[in-house]
């Protein structure tokens, strides 16, 4: 008797495929609604470059062009790039245990690779900095905006300046990083600034490319 009163659910149970289909349908509709609500709130555009903060052109004694018999140049302490508003002290970078270049632990400062020649000495000095943190722009956020002819000032201990002129700004896939062009021997005083760029791969948490600025010592 009791059973008879609940005849309708009983019939539903007799054909479970129909009930299941209806139930799955309800779940799908609810899921889709939630998904649509979530998806419409994800994503954001790339942070626009904006205007660089004003950085004064450093003053000081320009380092002379490299001489074959020059005294050892002092180590670098700071980096100024007025064209893109960069003004940072330089920390020292070595190698990781895996043999890769250390990167600054702070995204707000750049670092000089101590295995590379000192800026202003014969050879290519290598300076690396972050393009961004998890939250916003890093010290080299605007590096890609540099143009050939822009000046880069490296302050060194004892107050001398090594002034470099940008010759090229290029983007390389990390898979095709130009090791020889960055770290290989060169016969004059040069500078390489390295940061990240290109597409950000959210699955690995890394950019797919590096932006590299090539510069040569400018004569006073």
């Amino acid at each position: 008797m009791r059973y008879g009163r609940h005849a309708s659910p009983a019939r539903l149970i007799r054909r479970p495929w129909a009930a299941a289909a209806a139930l799955i349908g309800v779940v799908l509709v609810c899921g889709a609604a939630a998904g649509l609500a979530w998806a419409s709130h994800t994503g954001h555009p790339a942070t626009p470059a904006g205007t660089p903060p004003l950085v004064p052109v450093p003053r000081g004694k320009w380092a002379a062009a490299t001489q074959a018999k020059s005294a050892p140049v002092p180590p670098p302490t700071a980096l100024d790039i007025p064209a893109i508003g960069v003004e940072t002290r330089l920390i020292r970078l070595g190698l990781t245990r895996a043999g890769t270049l250390q990167v600054p632990s702070s995204t707000a400062v750049a670092g000089w690779y101590t295995g590379s020649p000192r800026p202003g000495a014969t050879g290519a000095a290598v300076i690396a900095g972050h393009i961004d943190s998890y939250l916003g722009p890093g010290v080299f956020f605007r590096l890609r905006e540099l143009k050939p002819g822009n000046l880069i000032y490296v302050r060194r201990r004892h107050g001398t300046l090594a002034v470099f002129k940008v010759t090229a700004v290029r983007t390389f896939l990390k898979k095709k990083f130009p090791t020889a062009d960055v770290y290989g021997p060169v016969p004059d005083a040069q500078l390489r600034l390295i940061t990240c760029g290109g597409t950000f791969d959210y699955s690995t948490g890394h950019y797919l490319s590096n932006v590299i600025v090539f510069a040569v010592l400018a004569t006073a």
Binding site: W17, A21, L28, G35, T100, V186
Partner: protein, 295 residues
Amino acid sequence: MRTASRLTKPAKTAVAVTIAAVGLILGPFAIAMSPASASTSASTGVGWIRLAHLSPNAPAVDVYLYSFGNSSAQIVLRHVSYGTVSPFEQVTAGEYTVAMRAAGAPASSKPVLSTAVDVLAGHAYTVAGMGPYPGLRLQIIADRLTTPPGKALVRVIQASLNQQVVAVRVGHTALSRQLKFATVTGYRAVLPGTWTVRVAGSSESTTDSVSLAAGSLYTLVVLDSHGKLVIDVLTDAQGSKVDPAGAPQTGFGGTAARPGAALLPWAAVGVAGLLTVATGTALVMRRRRPALHAR
């Protein structure tokens, strides 16, 4: 029979719709990221040239560097005396002429010596006045710009007229046992470190200390200085002591464009869900009527 077929068809449809809906949910996760644009070469079409006077008994000279076919000099080094080596100058790849005139001679005068140099992009050259005077000639010496990993490269230019044949050692490595005046050895790989260089001629020898870094290249120039044998150490090129592996990871993505999740799959799932609900409900309703009749 008729009822069974009517029931089976919508059931199949419901299952198919469900599978399609599940596929639509999982689909977006399978979409791979597109790779970044291709890289470009870093070679910028420049080479390097340096000029040297390595003829012991020749007077000082003015050295001119002309871009081929250009009558005004690109570089002029005045009053270059024996033992002088200029820094490397970066020049656009192409044909050049190096000319030497007596120090102070007008630029329009006929050069004492001249030679053509073909500068290739990414290559470096030392153009040196070498040999006895008279008999001085301009020699083009190609400089290398690569080193084996973890090694320094060293070579010797023999420019001593007093000791016409010398033996040169760096630490325990013999760079040459019989190096004649006005000749140059090839580069030799040595372990980095501070080494004693020993140059021994027939009647005189000298030693000096050199620091050689991995990834760098050096030229030892053997010279006469006030009647004594001396060693001048030139740094030809410097690189990083160790090339870091791979590419630096210098970003966390905080300024990168983040694509929003696609809306279409969710909308499709919603539509599929509504269809499934409709189909299921319709089937339940139809099933009830024949059952009531039967009773």
